[in-house]
Amino acid sequence: MSLNLTDITLTYPDGDTRLTALDQVTLEVPKGSLTAVVGPSGSGKSSLLAVAATLITPDAGTVTIDGTPTTGMTRGELTDLRRHKIGIVFQQPNLLPSLTAAEQLQVMAQIDGRKPRTARGRAMELLDAVGLADQAGRRPHQLSGGQRQRVNIARALMNDPTVLLVDEPTSALDHERGAAVIDLITRLTHQQATATVLVTHDRTHLTAVDQIAEVHDGRLRLPAHT
């Protein structure tokens, strides 16, 4: 398995008490497969994604990325792990306004200590894969919402991650473009052999996913539908 969440419990302070966001959640996602995590707002989907992204340390349980347990890792080690093993597709594209589409991808090489121009080829390859090779020189404000989301997806794959975490990628898109983005993620998951977790509240595009997990009040139910 490339992503293992085992007995994850996560609580938040809520006044004098603590609110349980994730309650003994266990999830296994193999390489080259796409797992959709669905549930209503406030059910714990985003918390699950944040824990899988190593952005939050759970109160209990173990996160294992590509066979490496993250328990006890320092903040620096978790940053390194995210850089090399985890790709994140944000809900909003979160593109840097001063960078072109190609540079949004090349910056991933820069934060890895490599020369960004050496990553130009890989960036163009991924932009081509998401159908934006001809938009490589455009900045975010010159791209449509759907195009920005595709750059967001391509950026997440730039450092060949083992795990791809996708946060509500269709929330700002219309039905047609939303379906195209889900198709793209499905295709790239198989092409790039990533263990992909797709968090969404919208079930309409989930026909091609490998597994659907439902979250309610912090508890995960698997499988609801395949």
């Binding site: 850089r83 944000f90 306004p97 001063s98 910056v107 991933m108 934060i111």
Partner: protein, 362 residues
């Protein structure tokens, strides 16, 4: 510098605005530095150019400070210093500010009285009670050349030579004999009569200065320390240095404020980069590099303009001194203090939580 460099090019307006502020502050600091040095030179250059390492003043009264205006030394004190072991030369130096007139032109001058043949004055072998050596500015102000005559405090004097261009207390120096100086200087009221204002000493390391001071009734300080005994220099230089200091502080604060706002504005981008795996050290390097590029660029332009303006006015009536020290040192201080201000501002990058990149909050 990958993102930082592109930010600089992308947000041109914002950085141009800040760059302009840096240029203007640097220009102001550069001009003020040149002016401070120029005014300082017009106050002290006659003293700093003396071939002496120490100056012996007549001991001031209780509670009084050393002063070139108030000091007088006698022949006896001078002789005592001349015999002191470790003192290679002791030369009496009389200083007084008076009026010189040549035809219809007149100007305030500082008369520096020295012994004939003294190393303190240029061409001092040509000095006598009727001949003086003029500095270039004194000669120009009076419109005289070697061989001409002029009046110094009512005494008819011939210009023996025109040499050098030194000033004391904003007046050009005229080198005279001690005899001529004593006629020009106001009476001291001392029974044993003044020989001079101070004694210029050239000492070796073994000189017993304190003991000699006690024996001679003098107070001796280094030539540099003696500059504080020029009243106009202390107050003028102090005020200008205070202004310069405030400008440095203001520039650091303005740059710090700009980068504080800039860092807050881009904290969302920082969160995204952190979430993607950028280390905090990498992000801090990037941001500090951006600040240094902006500072260096702005300071370079501002310093260039200040140097250009300084070169234009140097030699005119404006006392502007253009040297590497007056141009490059303020520029280096500007960059260092600005970088410090920026560093304090961008440290908030360390507290940006990458978790905020998730969700729809951005």
């Amino acid at each position: 510098m990958y993102v930082a460099w592109r930010d600089l090019k992308f947000a041109k307006g914002r950085f141009a605005l800040m760059g302009t502020v840096i240029v203007l502050i640097t220009l102001l600091v550069g001009l003020l530095s040149g002016l401070t040095a120029g005014l300082g030179q017009q106050n002290i250059s006659a003293i700093t150019s003396l071939p002496a390492d120490k100056i012996a003043f007549g001991a001031p009264g209780q509670g009084e400070k050393l002063s070139y205006s108030n000091s007088t030394v006698t022949e006896k004190q001078w002789q005592q210093w001349a015999k002191t072991p470790g003192v290679s030369t002791a030369e009496p130096l009389g200083i007084t500010t008076t009026k010189a007139t040549a035809g219809s032109k007149s100007t305030g001058v500082s008369a520096f009285g020295v012994r004939r043949g003294s190393a303190l004055a240029p061409e001092s072998s040509r000095l006598d009670d009727h001949a003086a050596v003029l500095s270039t500015t004194a000669a120009a102000d009076l419109g005289v050349a070697a061989g001409d005559t002029f009046s110094l405090a009512g005494q008819k004097v011939t210009v023996a030579a025109v040499r050098g261009d030194v000033f004391f207390s904003h007046t050009p120096v005229i080198w005279t004999s001690l005899g001529l100086w004593q006629k020009a200087a106001p009476p001291s009221g001392r029974a044993d009569g003044p020989t001079a204002t101070v004694i210029a000493l050239h000492t070796t390391s073994g000189a017993g200065i304190k003991a000699a001071d006690r024996a001679a009734g003098t107070e001796t300080v280094s030539t540099d320390d003696s500059l504080s005994a020029i009243g106009s220099y202390t107050s003028e230089n102090g005020s200008l240095q205070l202004m310069r200091g405030f400008l440095f502080a203001i520039s650091a604060l303005v740059i710090g404020a700009f980068f504080t706002v800039w860092t807050i504005q881009r904290s969302g981008d920082v969160a995204v980069l952190k979430a993607l795996g950028a280390s905090t050290a990498n992000l801090l390097r990037d941001a500090l590099g951006q600040a240094v590029v902006l500072l260096a660029g702005g300071t370079l332009i501002g310093t260039g303009i200040a140097a250009g303006l300084g070169a234009l006015v140097a030699g005119s009536a404006v006392p502007f001194l253009l040297t590497p020290a007056t141009v490059l040192v303020p520029a280096a201080v500007m960059i260092a203090l600005g970088a410090l201000g920026a560093a304090l501002s961008i440290r908030r990058i360390t507290s940006v939580d990458p978790l905020t990149a998730l969700g729809s909050a951005r």
